[in-house]
């Protein structure tokens, strides 16, 4: 494979493009509303109408407004149809030839779409994720070529540093610095790992990227491999995402066939292979040291850092671990330049962030916005506020490690520092809206139950602390707790936060602390008075306290 081959594929793809393209969403959200039947219906309708040479029906990735699926877009007219059923297919196909149709339309200019800025999702909903040609036609693998033929590994690292890109998986560590650390280490064998163990409930950005544009992640990983001197990559993906796994497998196979993965890529001395490792349902495996243990086929328990994976990771070799979205940002940065990327966003948070909007909100789905966009714009303007005229009470970000942001704080811009200041985290990008009917202590209990179940059991503060905190929260929700219990809970929160081994335990108290900060009254209302001034029973002897209930 040389650059001319790549251009030839892109040109062939462009010249074979038919006059009309009907794009049918084939991502997991729409698939569960039977999008594959819709696509089959459209294929048949095109065939029946004898329009095979004029109309192409293309299965594409996520078109973002998941709640209105299955979505079907028609180009070049730019029309978007919502809640399409297989029966709508003939009418929809006829409409491409000028006939009227009564299939429900979705306004592509509404704020949900118009306020978005696409870098990571640029190809999502446009290209066919199961055909590498479709990605190549959208400038795919050009960045890898540029990197291998025109840039030294140091140039690449410098470029990523200059772009200001920070990890999209949660902590926000500067990506370029991480790359530089791995690049500097000596070692014959190094690894690149893509963390696709998207475990936060309410987050589905990484799933969508893998389902909609898997090659962008593979290309980003290969570029990283060149930059840090690794020849082997792993994608660690959740078993709960079967469609993403399938599309990745297809993508890797196609890239290998074209010589874009394997030995001597683009006639350079660079070799790079990527293997998929499938998780088995352990939230803690999103933590990097636990993830590496899992790739090695062991129980996914974290270990203390240092040594950091950059020095001693997989099989004790230097290992670069980045999240799906981080890798997907790399090819555009190389293609369009670090300055361009750094010009988007605010302060120390550059570029865009993909969020998954869900919960009690009108428009649920995927959005990509520049860093620094006010939360209110995302939730109220783009998300359309709470359904049925309700009021949004809080927005939960960052999953079980994050916190709840009260409606009064919604004017906060979304960037790493601002969210941390509010006691939440950027996290991977799940945003769950809650309306007035949501009771905050129950939400805190829900997340604590999650952390309790998912605690790997290795360190005591997390293993025992989450159980005790859950017990206290349960008591509060049931109206059996006293002020002493609340004080114990707060004390435990601090203890677990400070002494746990990994991020799971350290952040497990966040949902409690952030709801206590903004909705303390809801907790206080549930407390019962101390009986006759008698000393409260110690935590753990809940049986004694239950007599009164």
């Amino acid at each position: 494979m040389v650059i001319d081959d790549l251009i030839a594929i892109a040109e062939k793809e462009a010249s074979s493009r038919k006059k009309t393209v009907i794009r049918c969403c084939m991502a997991a959200g729409c698939m569960s509303s039977h999008a594959e039947w819709v696509k089959a219906g459209l294929d048949k309708a095109v065939h029946d109408a004898g329009l095979g040479d004029q109309v192409e029906v293309r299965g594409v990735g996520c078109m973002r407004l998941c709640c209105q699926g299955p979505l079907v877009g028609v180009d070049p007219d730019g029309i978007l149809y919502e809640k399409v059923s297989p029966e709508d297919a003939p009418s929809l196909v006829a409409s491409t030839q000028g006939a009227a149709t009564d299939v429900g339309r979705c306004d592509p200019n509404q704020p949900f779409f118009s306020k978005q800025l696409s870098i990571v999702l640029a190809n999502s909903g446009k290209i066919d994720p199961e055909r590498i040609e479709s990605y190549i036609a959208a400038e795919g693998y050009r960045a890898l070529h540029a990197v291998l033929r025109e840039m030294t590994p140091k140039d690449v690292v410098d470029s990523v540093i200059k772009s200001g890109l920070r990890g999209r998986g949660g902590a926000g560590y500067p990506t370029g610095l991480k790359w530089a650390t791995v690049a500097k280490t000596s070692g014959a064998q190094k690894y690149v790992v893509c963390n696709a163990d998207e475990g936060d409930p309410g987050a589905f950005m990484d799933r969508s990227v893998l389902e909609s544009d898997p090659h962008s992640v593979l290309e980003g990983m290969a570029i990283a491999g060149h930059a840090v001197g690794a020849n082997q990559g792993f994608v660690y993906v959740r078993a709960e995402y079967p469609l993403a796994i399938k599309r990745l497998q297809v993508a890797i196979k196609q890239a290998k066939q074209l010589g874009l993965l394997g030995s001597g890529i683009f006639d350079s001395p660079f070799n790079f292979t990527i293997d998929i490792r499938i998780g088995a349902g352990a939230y803690v495996c999103g933590e990097e040291t636990a993830l590496m243990a899992s790739i090695e086929g062991r129980r996914g328990t974290p270990r203390p850092r240092p040594p950091f994976p950059a020095e001693s990771g997989l099989w004790e070799s230097p290992t670069l671990i980045n999240n799906v979205e981080t890798f997907a940002n790399i090819p555009p940065i190389i293609r369009r330049g670090a300055e361009w990327f750094a010009s988007i966003g605010v302060g120390k948070s550059k570029g865009t962030k993909v969020f998954a909007l869900a919960g009690k909100i009108v428009n649920t789905g995927l959005i990509e916005v520049p860093m620094g966009t006010p939360m209110r714009q995302i939730v109220e303007v783009m998300g359309g506020g709470a359904p049925g005229g309700g009021k949004i009470k809080a927005v939960q970000t960052g999953g079980p490690s994050g916190g709840c942001i009260a409606a009064s704080e919604l004017d906060t811009p979304v960037d790493y520092e601002s969210l941390t200041r509010l006691g939440s985290i950027m996290g991977s990008g799940g945003m769950i809206a809650m309306d007035e009917s949501t009771r905050m202590p129950e939400i805190a209990r829900y997340f604590m139950e999650f952390c309790m179940d998912e605690s790997c059991g290795k360190c005591i503060p997390c293993r025992a602390g989450t159980v005790q905190m859950h017990r206290l929260l349960d008591k509060i929700v049931k109206g059996e707790a006293t002020a002493r219990d609340l004080a114990t809970l707060e004390e435990l929160c601090e203890l677990v936060q400070r002494t746990s081994l990994c991020g799971l335990g350290q952040n497990a108290p966040n949902p409690v602390l952030s709801t206590l900060r903004s909705f303390r009254n809801e907790y206080l209302e549930l407390l019962r008075p101390e009986t006759n001034g008698a000393p409260g029973l110690p935590v753990g002897s809940a049986a004694g306290n239950k007599e009164g209930s």
Binding site: A28, M31, P201, F204, E240
Partner: protein, 189 residues
């Protein structure tokens, strides 16, 4: 000298072949000889060149073939990957995805992710629990239905979601879930 069973299993650790241990190996062999699924699993193990770090992949395949991981199957995997059975058992019990108990004819996975939860998946789960008279994680006595929960299946845009026999179904209510589960009952075999 290698035990004939050990040769067939490609297994060299004499420790496990001392008298008394033979029963175990024989039991595994009995499976392996009569069941085609073990052959398929072996091909899969060969694909990974018997690498020990492929343990999770091998267990995935084993569960896909057999439905669940019973002790003999775990032993077979341990022998094949030359790993101590304790390690295989440790991994199989650590990850939620692996089940060591047989599953029912139908499975129903209620997503309890945050988006589904705030949209009422707890009520959906409670309704199914009441109908089937089992708790989440259990299988009915007649082995017809296994009721499971998921932490998040990433279908938050269409919450609350329930997976019926592998099919993700959007926007469930207690009523729609009960209709689906009841629909299975007369067709069960």
């Amino acid at each position: 000298m290698r035990h004939p069973l050990a040769r067939m299993l490609g297994f060299v650790n004499a420790e496990l072949l001392r008298p008394g241990k033979e029963g175990t190996v024989a039991r595994v062999m009995k499976h392996a000889s009569g069941d085609k699924r073990f052959k398929i699993l072996e091909v899969h193990i060969k694909k990974y060149q018997g690498r020990q770090d492929a343990l999770i992949e091998v267990l995935h395949k084993a569960q896909e073939l057999f439905g669940y991981l019973e002790d003999d199957l775990l032993l077979f995997v341990a022998y094949r990957l030359k790993l101590p059975p304790s390690r295989v058992y440790g991994v199989a019990t650590f990850y939620h995805f692996f089940t060591l108990k047989p599953q029912g004819v139908h499975t129903c996975v209620v997503c309890l992710g945050t988006a589904c939860y705030v949209r009422g998946s707890d009520r959906v789960l409670a309704a199914i629990e009441a109908l089937a008279k089992i708790k989440a994680g259990e299988t009915t006595g007649d082995k017809q239905l296994s009721l499971l929960t998921a932490r998040c299946i990433g279908a938050c845009g269409i919450a609350p979601a329930v997976v019926y026999d592998g099919v993700i179904t959007p926007r469930q209510t207690p009523e729609s879930a009960l209709a689906q589960v009841k629909g299975w009952q007369p067709h069960g075999n």
